[in-house]
C-alpha cells in the first residue's frame, strides 16, 4: 500500500492558530461553530460547540479528531459554521443532494487531512491503561505515556481503517480551506478490496461471520445515532410498533433485521465516514454492509456518494432503460 502522500504531508503540521483565527472570523457570521477540543484524556478528542469567543482557544485539530461533526447538522435551525476533513465533507455534499441542509446557513472550514488514528487500536495496545500524556513526534509517530509507562506508535500503524484507503483527503466542498490540498493515489477498487475480499468467502462462512458479529450487538443504536445520514434518528422503525419490523427481543433475527434496515436505508447514501463502526462499543464491523451496497451502486449506476452536489441518490430516481441491470430470467 502506498503511504507516501500521507507521510510527506504529515511533515507539514496544521497550524491550529490558523484554524482558530478562521473560527473566530466565521463565528461573527454564524450562531455556532462546531469544531474539536481534547476530551477526558490526551488521546480522546471530542466535538466542540463554540458559541463564545472564549471557547475558541480550546479548539484543536490533530490525529485524534476522528468525529464526523456533520452528523449534528440535519434539521439544525441555527446558522452553523463547521470544520470538516475530506471524508466529512462528502456528508455535506450528500446532505445537499438530499436537501437536508440549506447551504446558505452553513459556513464550512475545510481541512486537508492526512489521516486520523483509530483510538480503539491504541486503547487495545495500551490495555486501556489510563493515558496521562500523548505527543505527536515528527508528525509520523506518537508517544503515549500511560500509568504503565511510555509507548511509541507509528501513526500509520494505528491509522483508522477508512484513512488507509482514503480517496478524498481534501474537502470537496468548503468556504475556507486551511493548509495545502492533499492528493490521494488510491484507486476506487483499492478502496473496496475489503468488500471484494470478504465476498469471496462461501455463503456459510459469511452467514456465520455475521452471526458471530451480531451476537455481540446490544442494540444501543450508537451506530445509528452516530450516522450523519440516519435522518430518522428518534423515529427509526427499529423502535416503532407501527410499522413493526423488529421486536424488542435481543435475539439474532432482530439484530439481523436491524442491521438490514440500517444498511438498506443507507443504500446509495452512505458516505463511508465510518462513524457507525467507530461508535460501536462492541467492535462490530457495521460499515461493511453499507460499503458493499456502495460498491454495487458504483457497479450499477456508476454512482459514488457525496461527490457531486448535483447527483441524484440512485434509490430516489431511475432510468427507463437500466444499462447495468440485467433482468433475472430463470
Amino acid at each position: 500500500m502506498n503511504w507516501d502522500h500521507y507521510m510527506e504531508k504529515r511533515r507539514k503540521p496544521l497550524s491550529e492558530k490558523g484554524l482558530r483565527e478562521k473560527i473566530s472570523q466565521i463565528l461573527k457570521e454564524v450562531d455556532v461553530v462546531i469544531s474539536w477540543k481534547m476530551g477526558f484524556d490526551p488521546i480522546h478528542a471530542t466535538p466542540h460547540f463554540i458559541r463564545d469567543e472564549k471557547e475558541i482557544e480550546e479548539s484543536v485539530f490533530n490525529v485524534f479528531c476522528v468525529h464526523n461533526l456533520t452528523t449534528y447538522l440535519p434539521f439544525m435551525k441555527e446558522k452553523v459554521g463547521i470544520v470538516v476533513k475530506g471524508c466529512d465533507s462528502r456528508t455535506l455534499v450528500q446532505f445537499i443532494q438530499e436537501g437536508l441542509i440549506t447551504r446558505e446557513n452553513l459556513k464550512i472550514i475545510g481541512i486537508p487531512c492526512s489521516g486520523v488514528v483509530d483510538v480503539k487500536k491504541i486503547m487495545e495496545e495500551i490495555g486501556e491503561s489510563p493515558v496521562l500524556q500523548a505527543e505527536i513526534l515528527d508528525n509520523s509517530s506518537l508517544k503515549i505515556r500511560t500509568l504503565d509507562g511510555e509507548k511509541f506508535f507509528q501513526i500509520d500503524s494505528v491509522l483508522a481503517q477508512k484513512c488507509k484507503t482514503c480517496r478524498y483527503p481534501t474537502p470537496l466542498i468548503y468556504d475556507h480551506l486551511i493548509g495545502e490540498p492533499i492528493k490521494s493515489q488510491i484507486g476506487w477498487d483499492k478502496a473496496y478490496e475489503d468488500v471484494t475480499e470478504f465476498d469471496k468467502k462461501t455463503l456459510e462462512e459469511k452467514l456465520s461471520f455475521w452471526k458471530k458479529e451480531f451476537e455481540k450487538c446490544i442494540r444501543c443504536y450508537a451506530c445509528r445515532n452516530a450516522c450523519p445520514l440516519c435522518v430518522c434518528q428518534d423515529r427509526c422503525i427499529a423502535e416503532s410498533r407501527d410499522p413493526h419490523f423488529v421486536s424488542q427481543k435481543l435475539e439474532l433475527p432482530e439484530k439481523f433485521m436491524f442491521h438490514f434496515i440500517h444498511a438498506i436505508h443507507l443504500a446509495g447514501r452512505c458516505v463511508e465516514c465510518g462513524e457507525c463502526e467507530r461508535a460501536c462499543p462492541m467492535g462490530i464491523p457495521v460499515k461493511m454492509m453499507k460499503k458493499k451496497i456502495n460498491y454495487e451502486m458504483k457497479q450499477l449506476f456508476d454512482y459514488e456518494t457525496g461527490i457531486n452536489v448535483d447527483d441524484k441518490p440512485p434509490m430516489y430516481t431511475f432510468k427507463v432503460e437500466e444499462e447495468k441491470i440485467k433482468e433475472h430470467e430463470l
Binding site: 434539521f75 435551525k77 423515529r235 410499522p243 430516481t317
Partner: protein, 654 residues
C-alpha cells in the same frame, strides 16, 4: 375482533380440488374467528344474503371471503358487507380459485394452501382500518383524442349530452381513415357522403372545441380533474384568416410533396388542403417541401393569398385544457407496402396497398375515381387482391387478424367490376372472415354476381413480365399451382397500431399490449374502460375494427362519460397515502419518488416541516410508503403492518 369467514365452493370450481369444509374447520380454530362457513355460490344473491345475515346474527366486525380473485368480486362483497352496516374496507378476499383450485390437482396440497391463504387474509383483515372516501368536484368537460369516426361519434354524443368537448386531431382534418374510403361494405354507400355531414356537425357544434393538427403533449391530474397540455403544431398558415379557397395550392411551385392523405399514391403540393370535404378546410404548409422554408426563397403562396394568411415564422403553440375525462380514439396505422418484398412491394409501381387502391377508386382521389394503374395510367384488366398481407403472419410478428380486409377486398373487387366491366379480379386468401350482418352474403355476391375468382392459397412470388405482373401462388383447394397475369396487384396490408401509441399510453398511464393496441379493463364486461379510471377507449386503437364497431364504441365511451358526469361530485378512493406528522422527520424522500406529485411539504405550527399527501391526486401506488425510512407515510389498506401481518401469518406459521 369478530371475523367471519365465508368459503365459496364456486360450484365445483373450488370444491372440486379444495376441501372447503376442512378449510372452514381450520378457520374455526383461529381465535378471533367468530364464524366460518362454506357456501355453494357466495357471489349469488342468496350467498350475499348469507353474509349479511351472519354479520347481524354473530355481530361480525370483519369479513373474509375465500372465493375467486378480488379483481373479480372484491367490489361485490364490499358492497355486501356495507349493506350489513360494516365499513367496506373490513373485507378481505382470499383467492382460492384462480390461484389454487384451478392451478393445482393435488387436493391435499390445495387444501393446505387454501388454509394458509385464508389465514393470511384473516391476519390482514384484523389489521384493517375503516376508510371513508371524501368526494371532490368533477370538471364536466371531456377530451377526445382522435377525430376519426369513433372519436367524432364520441364527441358528438357527449356534446349532444350537454358536455363540453375538446377534440384533438393529429392531422390537418378530422375524418380519419373513413374519410379516405370510397364506398363502405356491405352497403356500398359512399363513405364521405355519410361521414361528411357528421364532420360538419362536429365543426358546427357549439359545445365541441376542435384542435386540428394538434397532439397531446402531457397529461396531469386524475379522474374528474385532468390538466392536458396540447401542442398546436405550426401550420404556417393563420387559420383565422385562411378561407380554404385553395389558390395557394394551385400556385405552389413545389409539386412533389408526399401526400399523407393519399398514402403517397400521388404527390401533392407543399401547401395543401388534404381533400375537398376537409374539416377544418384550411391550408397547411409541409415544411419539408416548402421552398421558402427549406431554401429561404419563393414565398409564392404568401404573395397570392387573398387574406394574407401565410406566416412562415409560425411556431408550435402549447395550450392547456382542463377536463374531467378522456376518450382515446386514436385509430390505427397500416403496414407499408415496402414490407412485402416477396410481392415486389416498393419495387413495382403496380403493387399497391388496399388503402391506396381505395384512393384510386375514390372520386375525390388523385385519379378522380378512374381506375388507372400507377405505373403507366393504363386501365387494368386483371386485378389481383392478396389477403392477409402481414396479418396472421407470425414471421412479421403479427399473429392477429386485421378484421376487415376480407370485406374491403370483396368491396373493391365489386367496385372494380363496376368501374371496368371487362376487368377480372382474383383474390388469393387464407380464409374468408365475414361474420358481420350481411357480410357473408356480400362476399358471396362478389364471387357469384361479379365473378370475382377466389383462390384459396398464398402467393409465393410476383415478378414482372412485359408490362404485366406474374402472380405465382398455390391453389390449395385444387392442389395446383396458380398463376395469374395481373395488371395491378392490391395487397390487403395489415392493420398495426400507431407508431406513437405507446408514448401516448405512457402519458395517459393506460396499458397497451405487445402490438401497441390499448388494453381494456375487461375484454367482455368493460370493453371501453381502461384500468385508469377516467380514461376510456373507442375504435381501432384497442384493436382492428370496422366502421360499425368503431362507431358503437364511440357511443359506448360517450355514454360511460355521460354517466360518470351525471354526478357533480365523485367519491375519492380512500386507499391513498397518509402522513403521520408526529413521525415524519421531513426528509421529503417521498416527494422525490411520487410519480404524481401528490405529496407536498407542509409547515406545522411548531415550525417543523413535514410531508402532506394531496388525497385527490394520490393514486395509491404506495411507492412513498416503501421510500419512507421511518414509516411515517402509510398507504391506507396496504400499510406496512397489514402486509407484515400477512407475511408473518405465513412464514412464522403462528
Amino acid at each position: 375482533m369478530r371475523v367471519g369467514v365465508f368459503i365459496c365452493h364456486c360450484g365445483n370450481n373450488i370444491a372440486g380440488t379444495v376441501d372447503v369444509q376442512k378449510v372452514a374447520e381450520e378457520m374455526r380454530k383461529i381465535p378471533g374467528v367468530a364464524y366460518a362457513t362454506t357456501y355453494m355460490y357466495t357471489c349469488s344473491e342468496p350467498g350475499q344474503n348469507e353474509i349479511i345475515e351472519a354479520i347481524k346474527k354473530y355481530n361480525l366486525n370483519r369479513v373474509v371471503v375465500a372465493a375467486c380473485s378480488p379483481r373479480m368480486h372484491e367490489l361485490t362483497f364490499r358492497k355486501t358487507i356495507e349493506k350489513a352496516g360494516l365499513n367496506r374496507y373490513f373485507l378481505e378476499m382470499a383467492n382460492i380459485r384462480e390461484h389454487i383450485s384451478w392451478v393445482g390437482d393435488d387436493r391435499e396440497l390445495n387444501t393446505k394452501k387454501a388454509i394458509d391463504v385464508v389465514r393470511m387474509a384473516i391476519a390482514k383483515v384484523m389489521n384493517n382500518k375503516p376508510l371513508y372516501s371524501s368526494s371532490f368536484r368533477v370538471n364536466k368537460r371531456v377530451l377526445v383524442i382522435g377525430g376519426g369516426v369513433a372519436g367524432m361519434q364520441a364527441a358528438l354524443d357527449c356534446a349532444d349530452g350537454g358536455l363540453e368537448v375538446v377534440l384533438v386531431e393529429k392531422t390537418q382534418s378530422i375524418g380519419g381513415m373513413m374519410a379516405r374510403l370510397d364506398k363502405t361494405f356491405p352497403t356500398i354507400d359512399c363513405s364521405i357522403c355519410i361521414l361528411g355531414p357528421k364532420m360538419v356537425d362536429v365543426a358546427q357544434h357549439e359545445k365541441i372545441k376542435l384542435y386540428a393538427y394538434s397532439e397531446i403533449e402531457d397529461v396531469k391530474g386524475y379522474i374528474g380533474n385532468y390538466q392536458v397540455t396540447i401542442r398546436k403544431k405550426a401550420t404556417y398558415v393563420d387559420w383565422k384568416k385562411c378561407t380554404g379557397c385553395g389558390l395557394c395550392m394551385e400556385k405552389c411551385p413545389s409539386k412533389n410533396a408526399y401526400d399523407y392523405f393519399n398514402f403517397g399514391i400521388a404527390p401533392t403540393r407543399a401547401i395543401s388542403i388534404p381533400f375537398p370535404q376537409a374539416i377544418p378546410k384550411k391550408a397547411k404548409i409541409d415544411p419539408n417541401y416548402c421552398r421558402y422554408l427549406t431554401k429561404g426563397k419563393c414565398g409564392v403562396c404568401a404573395k397570392i393569398c387573398p387574406t394574407k394568411a401565410i406566416d412562415y415564422d409560425m411556431k408550435d403553440e402549447l395550450v392547456v385544457e382542463e377536463v374531467g375525462a378522456i376518450i382515446v380514439a386514436t385509430g390505427y396505422s397500416l403496414m407499408g407496402v415496402e414490407n412485402f418484398p416477396e410481392y415486389g412491394g416498393g419495387r413495382y409501381a403496380d403493387v399497391i396497398t388496399g388503402i391506396q387502391y381505395e384512393r384510386i377508386l375514390n372520386a375525390s382521389g388523385p385519379t378522380a375515381g378512374h381506375i388507372k394503374r400507377p405505373s403507366d395510367g393504363k386501365e387494368p384488366e386483371t386485378v389481383v387482391f392478396i389477403a392477409c398481407c402481414g396479418s396472421r403472419d407470425k414471421s412479421l410478428g403479427i399473429p392477429y387478424c386485421s378484421n376487415f380486409c376480407c370485406m374491403y377486398i370483396a368491396k373493391q373487387a365489386i367496385l372494380t367490376k363496376d368501374h371496368l366491366p371487362n376487368s377480372q379480379s382474383y383474390v388469393f386468401y387464407m380464409d374468408i372472415r365475414a361474420p358481420g350482418k350481411g357480410y357473408d352474403e356480400f362476399t358471396r355476391r362478389a364471387q357469384e354476381e361479379y365473378g370475382v375468382k377466389y383462390i384459396r392459397g398464398r402467393v409465393s412470388k410476383i415478378y414482372p413480365k412485359g408490362d404485366k405482373l406474374i402472380v405465382k401462388g398455390a391453389d390449395t383447394l385444387l392442389g395446383v399451382q396458380a398463376e395469374v397475369e395481373a395488371d395491378l396487384v392490391v395487397l390487403a396490408n395489415a392493420v398495426i397500431s400507431n407508431p406513437d401509441a405507446a408514448k401516448l399510453a405512457e402519458k395517459l398511464r393506460i396499458s397497451y399490449d405487445t402490438f401497441g393496441f390499448y388494453v381494456e379493463s375487461h375484454p367482455k364486461l368493460r370493453p371501453v374502460e381502461t384500468n385508469t379510471s377516467g380514461v376510456f377507449l373507442a375504435g381501432a386503437c384497442q384493436g382492428p375494427k370496422d366502421i360499425p364497431a368503431s362507431v358503437s364504441q364511440g357511443s359506448a365511451a360517450a355514454s360511460k362519460v355521460l354517466s360518470l358526469f351525471s354526478k357533480d361530485m365523485l367519491e375519492s378512493d380512500p386507499q391513498v397515502s397518509y402522513v403521520n406528522p408526529n413521525i415524519c422527520v421531513g426528509c421529503m424522500k417521498c416527494v422525490k419518488t411520487c410519480p404524481f406529485g401528490a405529496i407536498k411539504e407542509e409547515e406545522l405550527r411548531d415550525g417543523r416541516k413535514v410531508a402532506k399527501v394531496i388525497e385527490t391526486v394520490c393514486a395509491g401506488c404506495g411507492i412513498c410508503t416503501s421510500t419512507c425510512p421511518c414509516g411515517a407515510i402509510q398507504l391506507q389498506h396496504f400499510t406496512d403492518n397489514q402486509i407484515l401481518a400477512e407475511v408473518n401469518a405465513f412464514v412464522s406459521g403462528k
